[in-house]
């Protein structure tokens, strides 16, 4: 595996591993399938879009169980706002 092979080979398997894990853990942590998460995400976009213009591509939702303030899992949504509608 030389230097040029690295340049040519764009698909790094570590990235695959990371992507797969992230999806897997969302469903593991929440007992909630990736499909359901996708549905939640789409609904969130729909609701928020009524009031502000958001960057749907940059929207990130995940279920986390590491939270000091709340017992049990928490749903985090990170929603980049483009513009607030007046």
């Amino acid at each position: 595996m030389g230097f040029f092979d690295n340049l040519l080979r764009r698909n790094r398997s570590a990235d695959d591993a990371k992507d797969r894990l992230k999806l897997l853990l969302v469903s593991d942590r929440s007992n909630c399938s990736p499909e359901t998460m996708e549905l939640i995400k789409n609904d969130i976009i729909k609701v928020i879009s009524k009031y502000m213009e958001i960057d749907a591509e940059g929207l990130d939702i995940q279920i986390s169980q590491n939270n000091d303030e709340v017992d049990g899992p928490t749903l985090y949504a990170n929603i980049p706002i483009r513009e607030i509608k007046k």
Partner: protein, 261 residues
């Protein structure tokens, strides 16, 4: 003040027993009084990794059933007089011990030892519940693989649900050459996913196999894995130790590092 540490992972074969043996030995080397408890009933292995398999008379099940006192079952290490092993039973199963019995045993041992290290079996059933019952803190061992990390995540959830909140991560068997070319998750990737505190990174090192063959933990010896385990022990004791500079290094760099240390 004594501390009870469970070494766990969920997935089997990621290095729990190796980590237990090296952390226990390393803490004893630092002058602490340590007992290692093998809680893997039916599949005992810690005795072999410690090289003490020929000295077993009584075991964990004998102790909880009252066939002998804890003192009688504990085997003194070959090298360190303040290091003991309480071996598991080979011919019984996990249901021979209850979490309450483990808790009671651990409480009793607290009076005598600085550190009580519990080597947990793979899985999340009775054996796991026994091992975590009396624990103050946990070391989660994982390798940079999807399956091991997934299981580690599940274990973290279960530990938190059982009120074990001090959880640190040991990333085992990392290969920097593979990380560099993008074919293995890096320690940052793993931390990013699991979101717990990192206490050690142990590189994949042939010396581990050699040390297991010989039944002598390699903590503190002059190789990367030995150094990594020594650092983990110091961090457990509360010292701040910088993480080893692991590189997918060439021969000369390795040579330079060995002599430059």
């Amino acid at each position: 003040m004594s501390e009870v540490i469970v070494v766990t992972s969920g997935k089997g074969g990621v290095g729990k027993t190796t980590t237990s043996a090296n952390v226990g030995t390393g803490l004893a080397k630092e002058g602490k009084k340590v007992v290692l408890i093998d809680t893997d009933i039916g599949l005992r292995n810690l005795d072999v990794v410690m090289g003490l398999e020929n000295r077993i008379v009584y075991n964990l099940v004998d102790v909880v059933e009252g066939n002998c006192r804890a003192k009688q079952a504990m085997i003194k290490d070959k090298k360190y007089p303040d290091l003991y092993l309480l071996p598991s039973a080979q011919t019984r199963d996990k249901t021979s011990v209850t979490p309450e019995q483990m808790q009671k045993l651990v409480e009793e041992l607290r009076e005598e030892f600085d550190y009580i290290i519990l080597d947990c079996p793979a899985g999340i059933e009775q054996g796991f519940k026994n091992a975590i019952a009396g624990a103050d803190r946990a070391l989660i061992v994982t390798t940079p693989e999807v399956s091991a990390i997934r299981d580690a995540d599940r274990i973290i959830g279960l530990l938190e649900a059982n009120e074990v909140h001090k959880i640190d991560l040991v990333i085992n068997r990392i290969r920097m050459d593979m990380v560099k070319r993008g074919d293995m998750l890096s320690s940052d990737d793993v931390l990013d996913i699991l979101a717990i505190d990192l206490i050690g990174i142990v590189p994949d090192d042939e010396n581990i196999v050699v040390s297991t063959n010989q039944g002598e933990p390699l903590v503190g010896t002059n190789n990367v894995a030995g150094q990594a385990f020594e650092n983990i022990c110091k961090r457990i004791m509360g010292n701040e130790v910088p993480f080893l500079e692991l590189t997918g290094e060439g021969f000369f760099q390795r040579l330079a590092r060995v002599f430059g240390r």
